[in-house]
């Protein structure tokens, strides 16, 4: 579903160039989840942007469902996303119903409303609240609404960018469950970008460790947590209290 083939990203040119990514390769199959872990500055952000199609790689290629990522107007992208800060992920001036319905803009109004209600119920939000603004909801609820919007786009790939880092502990568990259920139901591939190894344990099939733009380790999740190969990975695990 997702193919990242020897991707590199360089900003600037000549001696001053910054290399954000270098020689990154991996694939993610439909229905599977790959976790990309690493510290800030490791290149996780850049990788996410390349996969979403906001930027182009300077070398290598990215294929989502067989084609390079393209942002077209008029139809939702095959890649959808859930972001770190729930309060920033939804337009503060629009109702949540309008936000969730944004990927469905081309559909007739009645159908859109019905689908929005369906999706809200699916993520555990009372559909009658579709007319309310984000300020009326808690962080956990906003994250669910965010997921509802992502699902509205019927994604083949879901990018989860620190989806639980800004949430309380008890709410994190709910979001994890929601992601597992949604993926089981829809069968999308999932790319989980996070520094929180605990949710990686629950969600990921494979783990990819990035450091300084390069892949340090890429293994099956169970193997990774049982005995990480790289020293750096061991450091990361040790630091996770």
């Amino acid at each position: 579903m997702l193919v990242v083939d020897d991707v590199g990203k360089r900003y600037g040119s000549g001696a001053d160039a910054t290399v954000a990514l270098d020689g990154v390769s991996f694939t993610v199959a439909a229905g599977a989840t790959l976790a990309v872990v690493g510290e800030s500055g490791a290149g996780k952000s850049t990788l996410g942007r390349l996969i979403a199609g906001f930027e182009l790689p300077t070398s290598g290629r990215v294929l989502v469902d067989g084609a390079p990522p393209r942002l077209r107007s008029g139809a939702p992208s095959v890649t959808q996303a859930v972001f770190q800060h729930p309060s920033e992920a939804l337009s503060p001036l629009a109702s949540i119903g309008a936000s969730v319905g944004e990927p469905l803009a081309r559909r007739p109004r009645k159908e859109r409303k019905r689908r929005v209600a369906e999706l809200l119920e699916l993520v555990g939000i009372d559909a009658r609240r579709a007319g309310e603004r984000p300020s009326a909801f808690s962080g956990g609820q906003l994250q669910r609404i965010s997921l509802a919007r992502a699902l509205a786009g019927e994604p083949r790939l879901l990018l989860c960018d620190e989806p639980t880092s800004a949430l309380d502990v008890s709410v994190q568990a709910q979001i994890v469950n929601l992601l597992l259920d949604a993926q089981a139901q829809s069968g999308f591939a999932c790319l989980l970008v996070t520094h929180d190894l605990a949710i990686v344990r629950s969600l990921a099939d494979e783990v990819l460790v990035l450091r300084g733009g390069r892949v340090v380790e890429h293994r099956d999740a169970d193997d990774f947590f049982a005995s990480p190969a790289a020293d750096y990975s061991r450091e990361l695990l040790a630091a996770s209290v």
Binding site: A81, H85, E162, H195
Partner: protein
Amino acid sequence: MTRATSALPRPLRLPGLRRRTLPRPGAALWRGNGALRWGVLLLASLLVASAVGMLVLGDPNEQQLADAFAPAGTAGHLAGADPLGRDVLAWCARGLWTSLTVSFAVATLGALIGTAVGVVAGYAGGIVDSVLMRLVDLSLALPPLLLFIAASVVVAPRPATLVVLLTFVAWIPYARLVRAHVLTERERPYIAAARLAGTPAWRICLRHLVPAASTAIIVLFTLQLGYVLLWESGLSFLGLGLQPPHVSLGYMIAQGRDYLASAWWITTIPGLVIVALMLSFNLIGDGLRDAFQLDVEEAVHER
């Protein structure tokens, strides 16, 4: 900076401030906001006075040379008469209306043009942004007064042409302000989500970016009203703006310039009207700014 960042476009956050939302309309804006209340009251009073005056007092351009220099308080000329016998009060009533319409027209046109330029420049970035911003720089480089002097030689000064001229100058601050807001806002995740949802660029600009800058646009609008008023009056005073038969407060002020000691009402009364208008604009502007600030503060303390 080592800090756990999100993978997709990083939101630029003003430290300590959370999301701004449009202020709740109606009651919340009004309550406890003295400046806004007084400002609106004053403006409304002036409007009503102007309307009544225009209906009741007859043609301000009518010259009754017999009544020239009639002092304030004379029958038929409550505010006196000017050197040509024109009724000052009738002039003020009509002039107030002219000033209001010109100010609002310029501020509105400026807002529309400036916002459009700002949004396009901010969202598109790259060459489009550079070109548009050079256009802004160019416009800034032209001294407005010289522009008006030159224009007045070529074009007959009428309210419509004055509006066009003043708009040339008025759109610039909007463009810069809106562009700045858009540059910040477009990094926010919900804009990224909108792009992923397939929302076309024009829709993102109209539905998300412009509303996000709306509080700033509104505040700038109220400030601009005052500036345009002063420009219009000033130009008319200098003889570059509106001249009879068009009725301008600035013109009447100029008429009384040589008679300040003897016939004070010719200059002073129109002057006071301008002061009252400015005051109402400023009060409304202050009130709105306070209301928006309050909303930001409350958003911060909601936790």
